[in-house]
Amino acid sequence: MTEQILHDLRLFYPETALVLAFLAAIIADLIFRRSTKVVAFVALAGLAVTGVLVLGQSTMHASIFSNMIAVDSFAFFFKLLIVFSAVLIVVFSLSSAELNSAGRRLGEYYSLLLALTLGMMLMAGASNLLMMYLALELSSITSYILSGYTREAQDSSEASLKYVIYGSLSSGLMLYGISIIYGMTGSLDLYTINQVLAGGEVNSLALLIAGILVIAGFGYKISAVPFHFWTPDVYEGAPITITAFLSVASKAGGFAMMIRFFKVTFFDSSILTLPEGAWESVQGFDWVAVIVALSVLTMTFGNLVAIWQNNLKRMLAYSSIAHAGYMLMGIVVLNNEGLAAIMLYFVVYLFMNLGAFYIVMLVANKIGSEDIDDYRGIGPKAPLAMVALSIFLVSLTGLPPTAGFIGKLYLFAALLNSGWVWLAVVGALNSVVSLYYYVRVFRNMYLRSDERHSNVSLDFSFAQKLVIMFLLVPTLLFGLYFTPLVQLAQASVKIFGTP
């Protein structure tokens, strides 16, 4: 027993490192009260160590702590994504004006950011319903606090209230669903639940209800319609850095958890180790219909409402809802090709979405507004940043030669290969709709003029330009040279941790 736990702890090093970094950040905050930068660098160092430790897990497939957490290449991929975006968010936070305004203590901010990252990493690996719930709550509770971090701003307070109400409702629904699943199968462990379901003695109506309740929890994390109500307000009100983090990493964690839940629980367990072939459902119920409905609703709603938005942050919130819809299409096909497409899409989405949010933040630092109308005529003033923003938006639309195109290409290819032509058409039509509102931004930047900002200077520092380039280059590069990324995604999806 002790041997086993000690052995398992060795596979838990990345998370342990993150916990230590969390503690170190708190202590650093106590010691260096005057300069907040120190805590940021402690957080960066902690994340770097975590990242290195995660890299060491690339080929593992194990299940640790009595099947509580799976350490496999699938979790590895998402953990890497989450840690990487956390590093970028800490870098963003260093130059955010709303966070660094006078008199604000940022120590807790960075330590909570680390706790949030830990919650997401646990979400990526959780293979027990209780562990899933705990990981979801760890990341939710910290994000409630972080989204209201600029307390003196009304929007920020409002955002955190709406987040806490919708978040706790969704997690309550999920917990009730989990309790019903526990009652029917007598276990919280996904692998055992799978075996019981394979026995076929479970009432499928009760399973349907419980499953939908559990999906409410996942749907809230990935902001899928109809569990999206919190998204626009929270994304608009929260500090931009937190909005960016929630839109990428939180979604990645939610997707990882959802995919693992579906793949392990409802399908024949041979798919966990067999890389090829369609999945065989162990229950008579058609889960695909639920996911298809979610996916179509989510992307259509997100895109149609995004058209009417005037606040760029809010527009990006709706666009991130739409992107969750695109990614859900990858689950529908029920094979590893679809999953690999989702993971590829996530990498691309990380660069383009964080890039867009970063530039919105830089501009908001200078002109104090995120209104699309206030972007009139600022294109020529900051050539690099605005060209970069245009490229990120083109990439979010999914046009070549950007990385967004490759992400969508693989998703649609996976759909077409499994005969989901109509769904691919819906997805493509949605992309066309999204072109309209993305283009509106750079039409304002270049083709309209406005005297109001004629004397505002939009000079960004060298470091900020460097960060922009760091996000811009992959967005363009992956549009042309994407083979290694595809191979990584395909390798990561092959093996799921088995007990």
């Binding site: 719930y133 009304q154 409002e158 209230l161 917990l175 009730y176 526990y182 009652g183």
Partner: protein, 114 residues
């Protein structure tokens, strides 16, 4: 109707799994009702607590009467702790809202446009 009541009276004292499930279902429904109808943020949060406790009753009852394992009871303990943590954060947020808006009515706290 009378036979139904007679049946019901006879069923009532034989406490078993279904009694607990019915109580938990009622609690869950009341919680959802409270969340969707109450306008006071504190009352909404109390609705959430009802939902969480409905799930807790399910966990413990299934663990006790299903006779399988203690997973459910352990889960209930974790949920109690998490509910406390969540309530602490939520109340702090509501307090902050009150200082900002001088109200905790969720309908009035809506400055961001749709």
């Amino acid at each position: 109707m009378e036979t139904f009541f007679a049946e019901f009276i006879r069923w009532l004292p034989k406490v078993g799994l279904s009694h607990f499930l019915i109580v938990s279902a009622i609690l869950f429904a009341l919680g959802i009702y409270g969340i969707s109808t109450r306008r006071n943020a504190i009352m909404v949060l109390m609705g959430v607590e009802l939902v969480l406790n409905a799930a807790n009753i399910n966990f413990v009852a299934f663990s006790r009467y299903g006779g399988v394992n203690f997973d459910g009871q352990v889960a209930a303990i974790f949920v109690i702790i998490l509910a406390a943590a969540e309530a602490a954060v939520a109340l702090a947020i509501v307090l902050n809202i009150y200082q900002r808006f001088q109200t905790v009515n969720v309908d009035e706290i809506s400055t961001m446009k749709e």
